[in-house]
C-alpha cells in the first residue's frame, strides 16, 4: 500500500465514522425524551456532520480522483465504507444511544487529542477544531451515562443491557492493522495501544460512578474499519441516506 493509499483509507475511517454516527444521532430529532435532550442531540449530530465534511473533503483531495465529500458519502456502497461497527449499530432506546455515544466519544477524544500533533497540518487543523466539539460531547454523554446508570432501577438495567450489547464493538476501535501502522510510522496516527489504556482508565471511572459492570469478555467484533464485513444495518441506512442521489443521478440540490 502506498502512503497516499493508506492516508486515503485512514481519512475515510475518520470521516465515515463521524458520518454514520452523525446520521444515527440525527434520527432522534423530534423524538427524544425531553426537549433539552432533543436539542443537545442535534448539536452533537451537527458537529459530527461538520467533521465529516472536513475529513471526507480532505480524503477526496488526497485521493485526487475529483470526488467531493458528498460523492464519497452518497455514492459508495457498503463494502467501501470504513466506519467502525459501533457507530452503525441502530439507536435502540435512549440508553443504547447514549452509551454508544459515550464509548465513541471516549475513543474519539483520545484519538483527536493525538491527531492535533499529526505531522500533517491539514489533519492537525481539523483535529484541533473537532477536539473542542468532542470534549463537550464526552462531557455530556459521560454525565448522562452516569446519571442514568445511577438513576432508577429501570434506567440502571437499561444501561447495563446496552453496555452488554455494545461492549463487543469496543475492541475494533483499538485494533491496529496495516493502515494504522503505516499512519503511525509516518507520524500521523498515534499508537492505538496507548489510547486503549487511557480509554480504559476513563471508561472504568465512568462505569464505576454509573454503578455499571463492565462485561468481562474481551471478544471484539471486527470488519467495519477495514470494510471487510459490516453489519446488515449499514446497508439499510445507506438506502435512506443515498436515496436522492441514487434516484436522480447528476441532479444538483
Amino acid at each position: 500500500m502506498t502512503d497516499r493509499a493508506a492516508l486515503f483509507e485512514y481519512l475515510l475511517r475518520l470521516g465515515d465514522s463521524t458520518l454514520i454516527l452523525g446520521h444515527r444521532v440525527s434520527e432522534w430529532c423530534g423524538h427524544a425524551p425531553a426537549l433539552e435532550e432533543d436539542i443537545a442531540l442535534a448539536n452533537t449530530a451537527l458537529d459530527l456532520i461538520g467533521q465529516t465534511q472536513m475529513w471526507l473533503g480532505l480524503a477526496g483531495e488526497v485521493e485526487g480522483a475529483g470526488r467531493s465529500a458528498d460523492d464519497l458519502a452518497m455514492l459508495r456502497d457498503v463494502w467501501e465504507f470504513r466506519n467502525l461497527l459501533l457507530v452503525e449499530q441502530p439507536n435502540g432506546d435512549y440508553g443504547k444511544t447514549i452509551l454508544r455515544q459515550c464509548l465513541f466519544d471516549a475513543f474519539h477524544f483520545e484519538l483527536l487529542t493525538e491527531l492535533t500533533h499529526a505531522r500533517d497540518d491539514r489533519i492537525a487543523g481539523i483535529a484541533a477544531k473537532a477536539l473542542k466539539e468532542v470534549t463537550y460531547h464526552l462531557d455530556r454523554s459521560s454525565e448522562t451515562v452516569i446519571g442514568l446508570g445511577d438513576g432508577t432501577e429501570e434506567s440502571n438495567a437499561r444501561l447495563q443491557a446496552a453496555l452488554d450489547l455494545l461492549w463487543p464493538y469496543v475492541g475494533e476501535m483499538f485494533a491496529a492493522d496495516a493502515v494504522d501502522a503505516a499512519m503511525h510510522k509516518s507520524g500521523i496516527a498515534p499508537d492505538l495501544a496507548v489510547l486503549r489504556s487511557r480509554f480504559d482508565t476513563r471508561i472504568d471511572a465512568i462505569l464505576t460512578e454509573a454503578t455499571l459492570t463492565k462485561p468481562d469478555s474481551a471478544y471484539a467484533q471486527s470488519g467495519g474499519k477495514t470494510g471487510f464485513r459490516h453489519s446488515e444495518h449499514l446497508g439499510h441506512m445507506l438506502t435512506q441516506m443515498q436515496w436522492l442521489q441514487r434516484a436522480y443521478p447528476g441532479a444538483t440540490w
Binding site: 426537549l35 433539552e36 443537545a40 463537550y136 455530556r140
Partner: protein, 94 residues
C-alpha cells in the same frame, strides 16, 4: 413516580464583556445538567461566553406594587445620565 424536572432561569454574558443577561428558561434535573442544557439551547448561535443558571424557585422578584417606590426615585435623578450635562462642542469629545 412522576416529577417534572425543575425550571431554571438562564443568564448569559455575550461576547462583548457586558453583564449577564436573562435569556430564558429551561428544565433540567440538576444544576450541572442545567448548565449543559443552557449551552445547547441558548448558545446555538455563538451567543455567549459565560452562563449562569439559577433554579427559578430561588429567585425573589419584586412585586409590581413596589414599582413606584423602587424605581421612581431614580427617575428624578436625571444628573446620573450623561445627556443631562450640556457641554459646548468646543470642549471636544467627552
Amino acid at each position: 413516580m412522576k416529577h417534572e424536572w425543575p425550571l431554571w432561569e438562564v443568564f448569559i454574558r455575550g461576547q462583548h464583556g457586558l453583564n449577564h443577561r436573562h435569556v430564558g428558561s429551561l428544565h433540567a434535573p440538576d444544576a450541572e445538567h442545567a448548565l449543559r442544557n443552557a449551552r445547547d439551547v441558548y448558545t446555538r448561535r455563538n451567543e455567549g461566553v459565560s452562563i449562569w443558571v439559577v433554579e427559578a424557585r430561588h429567585i425573589t422578584a419584586s412585586s409590581p406594587s413596589d414599582k413606584g417606590p423602587l424605581y421612581e426615585p431614580s427617575e428624578s435623578k436625571v444628573y446620573r445620565h450623561p445627556t443631562f450635562f450640556d457641554i459646548p462642542d468646543e470642549a471636544g469629545h467627552m
